[in-house]
């Protein structure tokens, strides 16, 4: 109103006098004062809003500024053997990780770290690979197992090394190294996919590792434990002011396996230079006492990150150190199926004394199927058929009994079966029968198919674990189920319901293989009151037209197999040994003998091992280290990087063996001639031999057995 009036007045009479100016000052000062008061009220209102209505939000933000929560990685649960000794434990150490996201100049910082931590050029290149490939938030291990001086040297330079995290922690330790590599697996930092699956912040905490293979992966949740936490007050620049609270971590629960640690280690070392596996199971419970597979990798060094040299060495090795041969090696079982086949005969009503005459071959229809011993075995009953591994005996009676009966018994004994074990995967092979062949090839079962199957050749494939289970079930007449995790309630295996004294018949025949006039006299235990029973097997890999299977190119040599149990009349342990390309069963049963010797008399077993290791050049661990050094020196710079994902490490090897398993096997068109079986204490041709007989007719006589050594 006042302003309007004034404006009208000035338009009409534009006189400005000191009086009007004074009035104007009073009005306007009131306006300015009012506006100022308004601003004051606005500020008071804003202040109230911030400190009352938004107080909760800002209090939280202030706390999250002030308090830095850092996780303490939990100590991983131990993996114990059946006696409580650690197969995998934790070792306190100093370590250094880097978090690429937080680094200013990764290259320069690594160059600073290299001399402090003693990193060589290979290791540096591996680290650069990882920095390039990883997501930046993932911690990368630079070095672990450091001594205090190295740790301190890095710590004092920290202001110049953003993103470098030195810490005290625990690293996984596998006391027996390569001996448990395939079984236990190893640990490593979680990769991006694993973090996406399980958004647990502990996974991206520097120094934290999860199980990557084997038992470590299978029991990951149980082994993991609960992370501790440390609340620290920090300044804006990240300097710690004081500890507010610390919650200790809770160690993961241990996992106790049925494995007997010393036995596992012994068997792995006893495999020596060979590529193979040893399985031992307890005949009362089915406990897996040993699942050794060699050559192997050292899980200790894998857990530090897989280096390019190491990966290159392992992946190029034709003995596939990256494959767990116990579960993923599939082999024609060879003559080791004969006790099982004999049991199927017995159960089908065949008298064990029923005999046939072996003249070195058997004519079926217009074909002649050879025995491995071309001179023939003469009069052969069931026991002799087993201990002399006479093929003609089995040809003869298998024709009478039929393949369906044999195949059913094979499955009852565990062949072709997948066992409920806490393992990542197992390949379970093939038990062929007429229905299977019709389905797979659309062809009728032929007499030669039965002939091949009864001597464990042809389509038949099994893994060493199945062979060990078969040995155990035949030896005890109980339906042993292999188990890997020890728990207090001992399983009570059901009976296989074999009739009469059939189990004893097989036990005695298999004892004679070793202790009587059989094919494996050298396998006799050097312990007076324990008699081991067994059965040799030699599985042919390529036709005799390519190689004799005894020597020459390694990968053309025959596989050597041996199944066993001891003591023969009251079995306590059963097992199987498979040596890839060992050149025959002679490569397998000495190992079984020494492993069983170790079970009953560790001292004697170790003496035998020490003598051998002296020839081989050290323990498995020492040889692996030496090979690594030699390989690294030879390979120099031209090595591709290791796979980024740990899964890829095994993927190729697994894919190859899976392909081998499912490869459309060429349709067998004839009988496989059995490979020679070494027979220790009888006349020479001490070997079965498998010679594919493309057409019936005379085939060349096999060369004399390679292991003619009498006991």
């Amino acid at each position: 109103m006042a302003l309007l009036r004034r404006r009208r007045a000035s338009r009409a009479k534009p006189i400005t006098s000191p009086a009007t100016l004074s009035a104007s000052f009073e009005r306007r000062s009131f306006v300015v004062g009012a506006v100022q008061g308004g601003v004051g009220l606005l500020l008071a209102g804003r202040m109230t809003y911030l400190s009352v209505f938004e107080s909760e939000k800002y209090t939280l933000e202030s706390e999250s500024n002030r308090v830095n929560l850092s996780l303490i990685p939990p100590r991983r649960g131990w993996i114990l053997d059946r006696n409580g000794a650690p197969l995998a434990s934790n070792k306190a150490d100093f370590r250094v990780d880097i978090i690429p996201d937080r680094m200013r100049d990764p290259k320069a910082e690594l160059a600073t770290l290299a001399p402090l931590l003693g990193l060589d050029a290979d290791k540096l290149r591996d680290l650069h690979d990882k920095i390039d490939a990883n997501h930046g938030f993932q911690p990368i291990e630079v070095a672990s197992g450091l001594n205090y001086e190295q740790f301190a040297a890095v710590s004092v330079r920290l202001p110049d090394l953003p993103g470098v995290v030195p810490q005290r922690g625990f690293s996984r330790f596998y006391p027996t190294g390569p001996a448990v590599g395939h079984l236990i697996g190893f640990v490593g930092p979680a990769n991006a996919e694993e973090y996406q699956k399980d958004r647990n912040p502990i996974l991206i905490t520097p120094g934290y590792k999860i199980g990557k293979d084997g038992i470590e992966k299978q029991f990951e949740q149980r082994l993991r434990g609960v992370p501790g936490a440390r609340r620290v007050e920090v300044t804006a620049t990240g300097r710690m002011v004081r500890d507010l609270a610390t919650r200790e971590d809770v160690q993961g629960d241990p996992v106790q396996l049925t494995i007997d640690g010393p036995l596992q280690d012994y068997a792995a070392r006893r495999l020596g230079l060979e590529s193979g596996s040893v399985v031992v199971i307890d005949c009362q419970t089915g406990d897996l006492l040993c699942m050794a597979s060699m050559p192997s990798f050292d899980p200790n060094s894998f857990s530090d990150g897989i280096g390019r040299v190491e990966y290159s060495m392992l992946s190029q090795d034709e003995r596939v150190p990256l494959r767990n041969k116990v579960l993923k090696g599939l082999y024609p079982p060879g003559s080791t199926v004969k006790p099982m086949v004999a049991m199927s005969f017995l159960e089908a009503g065949l008298d064990p004394n029923a005999a046939t005459s072996c003249a070195g071959g058997l004519r079926v229809g217009n074909r002649v199927f050879h025995c491995w011993n071309r001179r023939g075995h003469g009069h052969v009953d069931m026991a002799k058929g087993i201990y002399q591994s006479c093929d003609v005996y089995f040809y003869h009676f298998a024709q009478q009994i039929g393949m369906d009966t044999i195949a059913a018994m094979a499955r009852r004994c565990g062949m072709g079966q997948e066992f409920p074990l806490p393992v990542l995967s197992q390949f379970y092979g093939t038990v062929p029968d007429p229905a299977w062949k019709l389905k797979k090839y659309g062809q009728e079962w032929q007499a030669y198919d039965t002939v091949n199957a009864t001597i464990g050749q042809g389509y038949m494939l099994a893994n060493p674990l199945q062979l060990a289970v078969m040995a155990g079930r035949l030896a005890t007449g109980k339906k042993l189920m292999p188990r890997l995790q020890l728990n207090p309630d001992e399983p009570n295996p059901a009976s296989m319901n074999f009739h009469g004294d059939h189990v004893q018949v097989i036990q005695n025949a298999m004892s004679d293989v070793v202790n009587g006039p059989g094919t494996a006299g050298r396998a006799r235990l050097p312990i007076d009151d324990v008699l081991m029973a067994g059965k040799t097997g030699t599985a042919q890999v390529v036709g005799l037209n390519i190689s004799s299977g005894k020597g020459g190119i390694w990968k053309y040599r025959d596989h050597g197999l041996f199944i066993f149990f001891a003591p023969f009349d009251n079995p306590r342990y059963a097992g199987a040994v498979v040596i890839e390309h060992g050149g025959g069963s002679g490569a397998a049963y000495p190992i079984a003998r020494d492993v069983m010797t170790f079970m009953f008399d560790p001292q004697k077993g170790l003496e035998a091992l020490y003598a051998l290791e002296k020839q081989w050049g050290g323990t498995a661990q020492e040889r692996l280290t030496a090979r690594y050094a030699a390989f690294a020196a030879a390979a120099g710079q031209n090595i591709g990087p290791a796979p980024r994902r740990e899964e890829d490490v095994f993927a190729r090897v697994d894919a190859e063996s899976r392909a081998a398993q499912t490869r459309p096997q060429p349709l067998e068109t004839g009988a496989v001639a059995p490979p020679p079986e070494p027979v220790a204490n009888t006349v020479p041709p001490n070997a079965d031999q498998a010679i594919p007989v493309p057409s019936p007719g005379p085939s060349p006589l096999p060369s004399p057995a390679p292991f003619p050594e009498p006991r």
Partner: protein, 371 residues
Amino acid sequence: MNSVVPAPVARQPWAMLAPLILLTLFGSAVLFSAAGGNLQPFALSHLVRFAIFLTMASVMTLFSREFVRLFAYPAYAVILLLLVGVEALGFVGGGSQRWINLGPIVLQPSELMKPAVVLALARFYGDLPSGMVPTWRSLVPAGVMIGVPMLLVLAQPDLGTALAIGFGGAIVMFLAGLPLKWFGGAAAAGAALAPLAFFFGLKPYQQRRVFTFLDPESDPLGDGYHITQSKIAIGSGGITGKGFNEGSQSHLNYLPEPHTDFVFATMAEEWGLIGGLFVLLAFFLILRWGWKVALASEDRFSRLLAGGMVATVFFYVAINLMMVMGLAPVVGIPLPFMSHGGSSMMTNMICLGTLMMIHRWNVRSGRRGLS
């Protein structure tokens, strides 16, 4: 006034002095905390400076009106010359320069220009015949008197101080009774030119500050950091605060400039809403007393001088608090009597000293003083 209190003491303007002294003491308590619980380096020097400048203000009250009128234009001219000198030094030295180092004291002429502009304009309008007020002859000289120092300060560059000079001058012109339509026109022209000025006149860092003000969460670790951390400090204080010396935002360095521009946030974190309202109340009492002095004075020169001084102090308080509470972009303007720093303390005490001086003139002239 009762007779127990001696007259020279009772004569003082306690309505303003009491809140001022309490506010300054409170400010030094906050600075004590900002220094991590130490008198040094902030709190003690804050108190010492206050004592010195309060003495200076007391001396100022002795000046007569005629002396101040005489002094107005020469003071303005000297300070303008100093500003030019600073520019020249800065040009020679290469880079931004705001100070002149005169041996023991460091002089910031742009600070002194704030009261000087008000003084010169009050003199100008006080002398201007009332008939000329609505004509161009009242506008152009005043515009030049405001515009030249503003441009010089902008060139430093110091946007906050330039705006403070402009604000003080504009308020004096408004109070002097210039036609309202000029202000309306200026506001309209300003609104039209603001976008141009924003895009061509401001430096990139200043533009960024404005954007950040509009959306502080867009860059909480960069330019929005100041505002965000300041709001966290104020908000986390709640009603009663975290307690003296317990502010984590300031003590752990999350809050930038906890002892100068963001001293209010430091205070609010530890004293909460209660402390904040106390500060606002103190400023309210001081400024209200200033307006009363202005209205009580009898001549035009004194009125305009007093009104301009109140406006200058108000500008500091309002802009600083709005910035700290996230209502204005970040401009480097301290909070009077609480922020640590000699220049702003001096400017504000000159403003208050001038008001005390006018208060004394009013009392002398026999008109009713305001207690």
